[in-house]
Symmetry: C2
Subunit: 709 residues, 2 copies
């Protein structure tokens, strides 16, 4: 795959296979748009039916071109695309955009046709963009290689580069942002069915591209999702925020995704985990891209989550508070000295409690704005400031904007504005703010949400700095590898726990007994009470099979129980292969948790944590992280679930051993990576988390090996 994408965005020459003289049609548009926007390189229309297109010589075939173009646009019918792509390969073309539809998105024959395209691309090392896409715009260099109504306008270049799996959406975002949002784009590319150069390839290029400051993506599904963490880390290190619009979040939404670009949407939980791990900002609508983009353009990040709000409208302060609290921020507690100074100029009917309600009265003396803002910015307990100016307009607005710009210049704390005057009524004021890169929003809700987005990113940056100092744990489990090697059947409790033990995860004391006498001997060693459980790779749900007995307190009960669980297991599944009966210590006390590994085909190994029973299974109150998971990340996973208070010591219980739990998660992550070639899924259920200082203990486990290919 080609990744020298500078060449793609700025090709010296472009051939257009299937170029039409009718500039209204899809196959006629790219030539027209390239020409009318003043493309500086050479254009080669290719179509055996014409001698020229738009006054430029037209070639009957690619082979007859005088040179190898940097980029080829293919606009012919689906059935002819494979042939054309082969010709590109023969000519040594590095990049090809396939606009044509009729591939995996239509199912049936389209799927195999698309596979053929992918094979040709691999064979000739062609960087294919598409098929089923709408092309690319390099605003900065005036390369408009595509079709659609947005190609008819000119745009001011700006700091945003975007890649979109949907043509319609990508270009709508660019259009709105550039025309109405005052936030220009640098590059915009649509990838459609994405058989070649992927969304993440483009994002990696944008990270390298020195003039891209903000990266945006519209994603239905990533086929190379396992790279998300690595790419996210690079973006974090480069200081470039990535705004990601991931659609297909609900089950019905996912069905739509599958029917559209024939992508499996991937598990949203894993996307969310990756977004959180690397501070990728999730957006939910076109407007969010513009709002958040404007926030990041200011290039100021808060050092903490404490916001001070200055408002002339109490209601607006409440609204913003609701948003920032939902986004993990908090209202700053102003220092006594700050309050004392504010009291000098804020009217008695205002409020000094953050949100500070200065009331419209301060506009009687405009110097007060400067002093109020400065006093609050100077408070060391304030990490960022939002000012709410309601609908102030005209000359007054202009003067106030000037005061705000003057104060904001002297600090590196973020200063955001909620200002709802219509554009035409506060044009000069807004221009002043834009000039100073001070983000402003039409509603306190949008302003609060943008602040929360910036905090989400700043917080991830901080967390990742900690994590970089933690070396991920690497373990090698030789016995485990041997057990799983080539295995297709599930690994039942006894062996599964031996595997856990090899990676240092504490398990219950136990022994596998093949007879009642062996069971008695084991119980004697372990000490009563004990539990017994059938061991069979064919019975993953032992309780359902009534093949478990808990709290056995003496030899007689053990002997009876032994026979009973075997009989029940056979009644449940006559041909079940029975490996024996597990005799196990009864764990006393502790909170039941679940740990798990899912080795996702798109993302690779991920670790899950939740509390036992209903919490995980019914409420889905679990947290995921992609492996490797370090200790600080494991703690985040634990604290993230809604049931966390249960572990921290809710309802008068003693706090649980969270440190040991985090340790077990880290070891499970090391196991997941070590066994990633042979393990598909792993459940530890339950893992007993004992009181603080008393560790954890896995009481049951099940491993599903990766099916052999």
């Amino acid at each position: 795959m080609r990744t020298d994408l500078e060449r793609f965005f700025n090709p010296r020459s472009i051939a257009i296979i299937g170029a039409s003289q009718d500039f209204g049609t899809i196959s006629g548009q790219p030539f027209k748009h390239l020409q009318s926007h003043g493309y500086a390189g050479t254009l080669y229309p290719v179509n055996p039916r014409y001698a020229q297109v738009g006054g430029v010589k037209c070639y009957p075939s690619l082979a007859e071109l005088p040179e190898t173009p940097d980029l080829v646009l293919i606009l012919v019918n689906a059935s002819r695309v494979t042939d054309m792509l082969r010709q590109c390969g023969a000519k040594g073309v590095p990049y090809v955009i396939i606009f044509s539809s009729g591939f995996s998105e239509v199912g049936g024959g389209g799927v195999s046709l698309q596979q053929e395209l992918a094979a040709i691309a691999r064979e000739h090392d062609i960087g294919v963009i598409g098929p089923n896409c709408q092309g690319m715009i390099n605003v900065a260099d005036g390369v408009f290689a595509g079709f659609g109504s947005v190609f008819s306008s000119d745009y001011e270049p700006g700091p945003v580069s975007m890649v979109s799996q949907s043509g319609g959406f990508g270009f709508s975002v660019m259009n709105l942002s550039s025309k109405d949002g005052g936030l220009g784009f640098r590059q915009m590319v649509t990838t459609g069915n994405e058989i070649g150069v992927s969304t993440l390839d483009f994002i990696e290029y944008f990270i390298r591209d020195p003039k891209t400051e903000i990266i945006a993506g519209y994603v239905e599904g990533l086929k190379d999702a396992h790279r998300l963490i690595e790419v996210g880390e690079k973006a974090l290190q480069a200081g470039k925020p990535v705004l990601m619009w991931k659609v297909g979040n609900t089950e019905q939404g996912q069905r739509a995704a599958a029917s559209h670009t024939a992508n499996l949407g991937g598990a949203m939980a894993l996307y969310r985990a990756a977004f959180r791990q690397k501070g990728i900002i999730q957006v939910d609508d076109i407007q969010d891209v513009v709002d958040y983009g404007r926030a990041f353009r200011s290039k100021r990040l808060p050092k903490g989550n404490r916001l001070a709000i200055i408002t002339i409208s109490g209601g607006a302060g409440i609204l913003m508070t609701d948003e920032i609290v939902a986004g993990g921020m908090t209202l700053a507690q102003l220092a006594p000295g700050t309050l004392e100074k504010l009291r000098e100029f804020i009217p008695s009917f205002g409020s000094l409690l953050n949100p500070v309600d200065v009331t419209a009265a301060i506009f009687n003396d405009l110097t007060l704005i400067n002093r109020t803002l400065q006093t609050i910015i100077d408070d060391p307990g304030v990490d960022c400031v939002a000012m709410i100016n309601a609908s102030l307009q005209g000359d007054l607005a202009n003067t106030i904007a000037g005061e705000i710009v003057a104060v904001a210049k002297k600090t590196d704390k973020p200063v955001f504005l909620s200002w709802s005057a219509r554009d035409v009524l506060a044009q000069e004021a807004y221009a002043q703010l834009d000039g100073a890169l001070i983000p402003h929003y039409k509603s306190p809700v949008r302003c609060g949400r943008a602040l929360a987005a910036v905090w989400w990113y700043a917080d991830a940056k901080r967390r990742n700095e900690v994590q970089r100092s933690e070396k991920p744990l690497v373990l090698e489990g030789r016995a485990a590898r041997n057990i799983l090697q080539g295995r297709t059947a599930d690994v039942a409790e006894y062996d599964a726990k031996r595997i856990l033990a090899e990676y240092g995860i504490p398990v219950t004391q136990e022994a596998l007994a093949l007879s009642a006498d062996e069971a008695l001997k084991a119980a004697k060693r372990i000490g009563y009470p004990v539990a017994i459980k059938i061991q069979s790779p064919d019975i993953p749900h032992k309780t359902e099979a009534k093949a478990v007995r808990l709290g056995i307190t003496d030899d007689a009960a053990l002997r009876a129980g032994f026979d009973e669980v075997i009989a029940n297991a056979k009644a449940y599944k006559a041909d079940a292969k029975i490996e024996g009966v597990l005799v196990q210590e009864m764990v006393k006390g502790g909170t039941e948790a679940i740990l798990g590994v899912t080795n996702d085909p798109l993302f690779g190994p991920a670790v899950m944590f939740g509390l036992g029973g209903i919490f995980a299974e019914v409420l889905k109150d679990v947290s995921f992280r992609l492996a490797p998971v370090t200790k600080s990340v494991a703690r985040e996973m634990i604290e993230e679930i809604k049931g966390y208070p249960v572990l921290a010591g809710a309802r008068g219980q003693a706090p649980a051993d969270i440190d040991a739990l985090a340790d077990a998660i880290v070891k499970l992550s090391a196991l997941a990576i070590d066994l990633k070639d042979s393990l598909a899924e792993l459940d530890i259920n339950p893992l007993f988390v004992m009181e603080k200082g008393k560790g954890v203990k896995a009481a049951d486990a099940l491993i599903k090996p990766k099916a052999l290919k």
Copy 2:
């Protein structure tokens, strides 16, 4: 309180106390705005300092006016307001807007000053609006009685009437909606600290006002929240949707609310319950009011929740799907006959699975739009249709809009559009849609959200029709009333359960024993195993006091346990009043639930339901409804919680007796209403919900009486 608010919105004469000749000041603005918008009645400026204001005779005091004005505006300093309000009373003025600030919102002396205002208003039966508000605009009749920048513009009248506790917000919404949203307002009033005419008074008036079609409210807190259900019911019956922007949702947000208008935000859970019960549509930002208002203006409600999406962009279909599914709607399953017809005109690379992706190809033959839309509308399994037109613009857009209008005219199913062309590029197309009242939105997300809002309302309408046929259960508990009469101490388990039993809620078999011998006798009657629990009004948390023993199986253990729980209770609280030891049957099996009553000072009695333990206490996974609760509402409460699958039979368990549970909720609601004068809070925890057909049983309960005043 005056409620003939026609007079308020359309006064024959207005006096302005504190009118200023300086029209730039707050006290100068109302006169100027009334005059410049051509107020048709008589204006009386009142100010001893002037002979005239704006060419109109100015009076030294209200007393000297030649008539009693319908409305007085008070614009003087807070300290002088009580005096002025008294003069209004003496003159017999029906309505007064108090603009002045400096009352409860500043705390301290402002609070008592405000109480004085309220007393004067009551004494003279004056309908007071404010204080601390921004006035009123009656757009339809040109009455602009207030101050602020939005008063300088003219507005087209429209179908929306709004009341707002925040001046800034209310007028911002009106401005945006009228100027940019194409949705005009009829009346707009701000109520500030709301000592007199309340938000709900205005909403009731809007329900009566024949020209108001849509009602909007911006609320920080309702002091008369107990009326919300009744007012909501009237609005439902009148077919007028109520859009409510309730702010102060988070804890920090609520603190801000308290510091601003000195309103306690009220429990958001109860607001949400009332909104759900009466289909009040919650909005979260200015734009929502406009978006939802436009949706309701179409006056079409879906008969069910099944949406068909027609799109030329797959991605947009996914986005809309995510939104509507989150809002409780679903994608319609198209009938085989529909699919067959569609196959005739939709290109093979399109998709017939809903969202139906017709691809841009259908714009080659514009008659196809008509046929596609008609075919889908004709499907009886489709309740409403959304069409996504991406950024189509110009003449093409115009023609397509015409086709859509033609089809939409022939159906009463809602037809919504997502169409993201900028206004200037599709002006005529949008005008055609507006003319036919077809709602259109710039993004599929906003379109989907507006559809979900309409469904929320339509669904509530349907549910309330069912509920109107259910007569709320009315019960009278004489013994219960006697127990609670004048009581200040908590009612402990034994008595609390006698009260439940009187209202027909099943409780465990039990007896109160004063000696070990009595306990043995009771156990004999009930049958072992039994539980024993201390009974003391001073020990509400018996487990914490170690004064509970479960699963006692014989006489000896009972005797020992009896002494032990008494000893432990005394050790826990030496001076606890001990009423005896409760001997109780052990309930076997069943799922633990919690039922409760909170008799909220603002809302009145409300009923709560949740699952036991962590579910309710840590996850707050509970549902609330304001009493009375009928059987169908009780079922909604049960199905609403996230843990519902536990009762329905998750994890291989037998389904629980949901019917008996709903019955208990209905009885508890009757109890809450019967005892509303003497009961503050009630907990049944746990209530055991047995297997289907086996009923429920309250195993413990606690009642907190209303403290005597």
